[in-house]
Symmetry: C2
Subunit: 335 residues, 2 copies
DNA sequence: AAATTTCATGAAAATGTTATCATTGTCTGA
DNA sequence: TCAGACAATGATAACATTTTCATGAAATTT
């Protein structure tokens, strides 16, 4: 049978209250009895029961993370940031995959609430109006990562996607590119929309027309990028640059271009987004936008823990810095 | 204030026992009162408190995962497998990074035990004798992933690393390669050792001598691979194939070879291990060994849940299948 | 009609902690 | 010498559930 606090108390010949005090490092206990209790703890191998403790103190020291897909390296890096901060402040993490599905989202949230997470980090590319409402009414503290509710009623940490996409597109325009193709997500969503908006603004400002037929939608992975490029090349449309939703899509697009006998960046320039580790080692190295995912996770966690431990109720939106990473796949001057 | 079971009971004009019964779907309750209780639950917005429940029933429906580094995609894929199985059986996951550090390992384990995880999955590349002992004495059920205690006293799920490395080396020998270099982990450890053993056995059988100076140790990432290859080329030693600890190392090695004006695979063949998604899209495509990480995670989780819910106490070692993936970086016939 | 079974429900104990309040000495200062 | 302060400790009431046992009513069997 598991040893509990009363067993230790019996062994050390003190009351449970005293044992609890030494376990929790509460000062009002005689040095000698403390010693005796410590002895008893070691002898019995007592480990406090955090569940019972949580029930009593009404805190679990646990954060929930809702994440679309833990096997996506982008999110993983963010989780790592959360993890590290949690380590410092003695919190733990309960993971919950949402798979981009609204039902799973609701289920996940319910479970995290039922398990009494002190706070919850919601990570995603999109956030429905309805779920925003649900989150606002949740009893746990909430911080959004990588998305925001546009009203700013929930706290969030993310980069300015619109402006990042704008900057990247501007750079392409300055380099001399004229015919833009876009490989974006099939599903409309917060992040996707912002990025397209950014590109569009840059083109508008430069007086460049964006041909709607050059905005392709597909799966946001290597294969998706490959097939979008293949399709686009087959269409015979003119274009000299492709801006992709992320680096995987860019890699797929580059391979497809090569398969079709086109050179990147000589014939076609390609940009990605997110800056995976491979983007620096791929040939050609991929021009992209770096989001500080680790930092975003860390900041979100830090905010959330602060919210749990004080009762500041005001929501804050933190804009993390991004960085345009210029590499080979889109040179400074169009070839 | 949070609404609890007694509030629902009052609202529905029944006892808490009855509410508990309908919440837990225990059949012995009249259809009509059940209806009334359900009504009251909806009206009050009651969500059961899993902490209190766990304290009473002495189960948390929570699995702990100890993992060296969640940002390593290999482990992430495994976590995904665990997650999916947990979803089916209504378990949750508490994550805990161990960072390959023995102290962190102990801390992690303690926390997971204190939080009363029903079971714990230990993932890693190595397992010290001492920690094996600690795990064996843990009150929670334990399953190892990717490693095993060599005595088989703990349950585990992993591929046969020795034999995978043997097969891969054999393939290289059959292709005609003669001068083997190895890029492996600086730290000796279970997985690393097994893989080197496997290569060595294949070479021994073929009567090929393995030059100790061609076994290089370094960081197991792209940069490590790059610097090992650079160093090896500078040494002027003869070699025609490099077998790497994983695909990242292989990618680094390939880039370094190219930087030095050598062609892969024409001048030097390179093999990896683990088969990341990029290995199929990199140029050259990387010859490697695929471990079914998702399945390993899923099987481990399934085993663990079974162990938690029955009381079979016998430990089982499950050997997952691996697959040699022949691609361009090591062709079937040496050039 | 009596005895037995079944069904629906409630009261209350138990789960392992923490924290409040009370108690007992011991010490300090007038 | 004694009131008051203080230090160390213990009893015990929460915390929100589940589950056992008891109870009474209704249904069924003898």
């Amino acid at each position: 049978m598991k040893v509990k606090i009363v067993d230790v108390a019996r062994e050390a010949n003190v009351s449970v209250a005293t044992v609890s005090r030494v376990v929790n490092n509460i000062p009002l206990v005689n040095e000698e009895t403390k010693e005796r209790v410590l002895e008893a703890i070691k002898k019995t191998g007592y480990k406090p029961n955090a569940i019972a403790r949580s029930l009593k103190i009404q805190r679990t020291n646990t954060l929930g993370i809702m994440i679309p897909d833990i096997s996506n390296p982008l999110y993983t890096e963010m989780v790592r940031g959360v993890e590290d901060i949690c380590g410092i402040y003695n919190y733990n993490i309960i993971l919950s995959n949402t798979d981009f599905s609204p039902e799973k989202e609701h289920e996940s949230l319910d479970v995290l609430i039922e398990k009494q997470c002190d706070g919850i980090i919601y990570i995603g590319k999109n956030l429905s109006e309805e779920f925003q409402e649900t989150l606002k009414n949740a009893p746990s503290e909430i911080v959004l990562g990588c998305v925001s509710d546009e009203k700013g009623e929930l706290s969030s940490v993310l980069i300015d996607n619109e402006s990042a996409a704008y900057d990247l597109a501007k750079k392409a325009i300055d380099a001399g590119y004229k015919n833009f193709a876009l490989f974006y997500d099939r599903d409309e969503g917060f992040v996707n929309r912002k990025r397209i908006d950014g590109v569009r603004r840059a083109l508008d400002e430069a007086g460049i027309e964006l041909d709607p037929e050059l905005i392709l939608r597909g799966n946001i992975n290597v294969k998706g990028g490959h097939s979008m490029m293949t399709k686009l090349l087959e269409s015979g449309k003119e274009f000299d640059i492709v801006m992709c939703m992320n680096d995987q899509v860019a890699i797929g697009a580059i391979r497809a271009a090569e398969d079709a006998g086109r050179k990147v960046p000589d014939d076609i320039a390609v940009t990605g987004f997110n800056d995976y580790w491979i983007s620096e080692w791929f040939d050609p190295k991929i021009t992209t936008v770096r989001q500080p995912m680790y930092d975003i996770g860390a900041i979100a966690a830090r905010m959330l823990i602060k919210m749990c431990e004080s009762d500041e109720k005001e929501s804050r939106t933190i804009t993390a810095p991004y960085e345009i990473v210029a590499r080979q796949s889109m040179p400074e001057h169009a070839c």
